[in-house]
């Protein structure tokens, strides 16, 4: 137990935790959107994120990006990366919906069937990117990509620098970008769901599919929309991940997806703001826990906190609802 360390640098650990949680939160949005409308756990969402990181990897590799490019280029690479990742992840999410989930929905299959299908899809994607694509693309892409299942590095786009220090808390440029970008993406999504016509459609279907259908809302289009939106958020997370950590691997999705799903449940699954809160909360809990004990207890702490929170608030911190439908 290192209480002194935790208390002494509480601010630093909180900032670290927030920047960690921001990425969880962005991925958690994908789970929460789909769950809010379809009551279905899209277990393959973690692979949607993984595909996004590979899209960024391939893009930067094809552009010939080197470590620490000049600032103008860096911004260009990031914006392009965001676009490509959003398209790749959004497209993957949409493909999952069309190919696998829609036929099941037609049959009104119970949730368990969706879950197993999603797990199967998840396996397929992990193996595609771990085994099949490296063999096919090994010659074209970075040498490391040709090694099945291995970790592949990406260039550092922005050099990490301490921007300012408050007390003994140093805040780096990367942490700030991650936090601001994540919150901005979420604010955008929140606005989209709560203020636009399409968003109203999503909320209507989430509240009551039949009534929404009666009112002329095209349910299939709404479902496609939420998968794409969730995919875009995962794409944004993939870009931030690539910028912050600079590596990817076919199997990175599993742990992250698990954490993001935990975050969504913590905040109240189906609740957008809950996903944000849950993600940030989980990030902080993990960093505090890793500091207090050791990093290898991180996951245990995260899951114990989840169980404790659910015991006292069975529907998560903010309760479940998409668009304040059900309190």
């Amino acid at each position: 137990m290192h209480f002194d360390e935790l208390i002494g640098h509480l601010g630093q650990h909180t900032v670290d935790g927030l920047s960690k949680g921001a990425i969880y939160a962005l991925i958690a949005l994908g789970y929460t959107l789909v769950y809010g409308v379809l009551r279905l756990i899209n277990f393959a969402h973690s692979e949607v994120f993984m595909v996004g990181t590979f899209a960024v990897l391939i893009l930067w590799n094809q552009l010939g990006v080197e470590n620490n490019p000049p600032i103008g280029q860096a911004i260009l690479f990031l914006v392009l990366g965001l676009l490509v990742a959003a398209v790749a992840s959004g497209g993957t999410a949409l493909a999952l919906e069309r190919i696998a989930y829609r036929p099941l929905r037609r049959k009104n299959a119970p949730p368990l069937i969706f879950l197993i299908t999603a797990i199967g899809l998840s396996l397929v994607f992990v193996e595609l990117f771990g085994q099949v694509l490296p063999k096919l693309l090994g010659g074209v892409l970075p040498a490391a990509f040709g090694r099945p299942r291995q970790i592949v590095g990406m260039p550092t786009i922005i050099e990490q620098k301490t921007l300012f220090t408050i007390g003994n808390t140093a805040i780096t440029n990367i942490q700030l970008i991650v936090l601001i970008a994540a919150v901005a993406m979420m604010a955008l999504l929140d606005w989209f769901i709560n203020r636009t016509r399409y968003g109203r459609g999503v909320r209507a279907v989430a509240q009551n599919p039949e009534t929404a259908a009666l009112m002329g809302v095209n349910q299939e289009r709404v479902i496609m929309l939420i998968f794409v939106l969730g995919g875009i958020m995962a794409g944004a997370a993939a870009l931030l991940w690539s910028m912050r950590f600079g590596f990817t691997q076919n199997s990175i999705g599993f742990v992250l997806g698990l954490k993001a799903f935990t975050a969504a449940v913590l905040g109240g699954i189906g609740n957008l703001r809950g996903a944000l809160l849950g993600g940030l909360f989980l990030g902080i809990v993990e960093v505090y826990g890793a500091t207090l004990f050791a990093s290898n207890w991180e996951d245990v702490i995260a899951f114990v906190v989840l169980i404790v929170v659910l015991m006292f608030r069975p529907t998560g911190l903010l309760g479940e609802s998409l668009g304040r439908a059900r309190a």
Partner: protein, 385 residues
């Protein structure tokens, strides 16, 4: 293409149902003979040497695995599937952390039965026992079942009040907690190094053991299949008892069951505890057969594989889930040629089975009817408006 597969599938199902109906129509004594013949085949399997059928053996390919050893794995997976079926198929609770119970069962026999375990060493020191002393196998079996039941209740007590999807993530977390604790609590479990010299029915593994020796895996299969048969019998009795009907009621409609005086929480907890005990039993056999365990053998992936066995086989139907377990354990071993593409093929197969046959390979008759009803409902309310 898909339609063609579907209609072929429908025909096959028709045949299957017909087989089931005919079997039920047979007089008792003929069923008895059939059953005895089936049991004889089960016990004969590890010796399988009928010309024309030897290609079934996993050691018939280059670098293939030991046939009896694979059969043993199939048998304990069947045990797992039967236990998980009580939780998922009968009580309708989605448990993604079943590996946790499996691990507790395996660690029970390792921690109390092996002279290399820190627990046994501590007991030896505390009570001045000789360094060869350890808890005997039969008592370990008892400990394993009690410990897993207790852990099932401990996990179920706070979490079973949660709705289905929350339960899924909480149980998944539980499985991970067990694995990580086993890995990190070095003083209790030897941590990542693992525990060796786990005993079998004849005591610690040794070349002198007459039946459960080190080289021949066949006796282990016979032991496991005996356990499976006993458990199948017991669970069948349970399924058709008051408890079984209560589970059914809770699964179909919790509120209605509560109104009728079936207290859902109590029966869910029962399902959880019984499922956990079966998982623990299979973990116990696993640990004691391999004589060595370490935490890497209890990954979350296995939990997911377990759920897949139940759902692919046909959740709710014991024959179905057993078939699912055997297929998922056997096919990757027999078709090793796929090597690196094993998991890709496995994932694709899972998706295809779910899209084409959501009720599983051999569905429970009640489940199949439910699914049909749901599909009919879906057709009544067209998706596009």
């Amino acid at each position: 293409m898909i339609d063609k597969i579907r209609s072929a599938d429908r025909r096959r199902v028709g045949m299957l149902t017909a087989v089931g109906d005919r079997w039920r129509a047979l007089p008792r004594w003929q069923q008895g003979i059939g059953l005895v013949a089936f049991l004889a085949i089960l016990y004969y399997l590890p010796l399988l040497g009928i010309p024309g059928l030897t290609w079934l053996r996993t050691d018939s390919i280059e670098g293939g695995n030991n046939w009896a050893g694979v059969l043993f794995v199939c048998a304990i997976y069947v045990l797992v599937a039967i236990g998980l079926n009580v939780v998922v198929g009968l009580a309708g609770l989605l448990d993604l952390g079943y590996i946790g119970f499996f691990a507790i069962g395996a660690y029970s026999v390792a921690l109390f039965g092996s002279v290399n375990s820190p627990v046994v060493k501590w007991i030896q020191q505390e009570f001045d026992l000789p360094p060869t002393w350890a808890v005997t196998w039969a008592i370990c079996l008892f400990i394993a079942i009690v410990l897993t039941m207790i852990s099932g209740v401990l996990l179920g007590w706070p979490t079973l009040r949660l709705r289905g999807d929350y339960l899924a993530i909480v149980t998944l977390g539980f499985g991970e907690i067990i694995r990580i604790v086993a890995r990190n609590a070095t003083g209790l479990t030897n941590g990542p190094v693992g525990i060796s010299a786990i005993p079998g029915p004849e005591g610690a593994p040794s070349a002198d053991n007459k039946v459960f020796g080190l080289i021949d895996a066949k006796p282990w299969y016979w032991l496991a299949i005996t356990f499976v048969l006993i458990m199948v019998f017991l669970v069948r009795r349970l399924e058709h008892s008051r408890v079984g009907r209560a589970w059914l009621a809770v699964r179909e409609d919790e509120d209605a069951a509560a109104v009728m005086g079936v207290y859902p929480f109590k029966f869910k907890l029962w399902a959880f505890a019984i499922g956990a005990a079966l998982g623990g039993l299979s973990g116990f056999l696993f640990g004691s057969r391999n004589a060595f365990i370490d935490p890497t053998q209890f990954n979350a992936n296995l939990s997911i594989l377990f759920v897949a066995m139940v759902v692919v086989g046909g959740s709710g139907n014991m024959i179905g889930v057993s078939l699912g377990a055997v297929l998922l354990a056997y096919l990757p071993e027999r078709f090793r040629d796929f090597a690196d593409y094993r998991w890709l093929v496995f994932g694709l197969a899972m998706v295809l089975v779910m899209i084409l046959r959501p009720q599983g390979l051999i569905p429970s008759r009640r489940r199949a009817r439910e699914l049909k009803d749901r599909a009919a409902e879906a057709e009544e309310v067209p998706a596009h408006v």
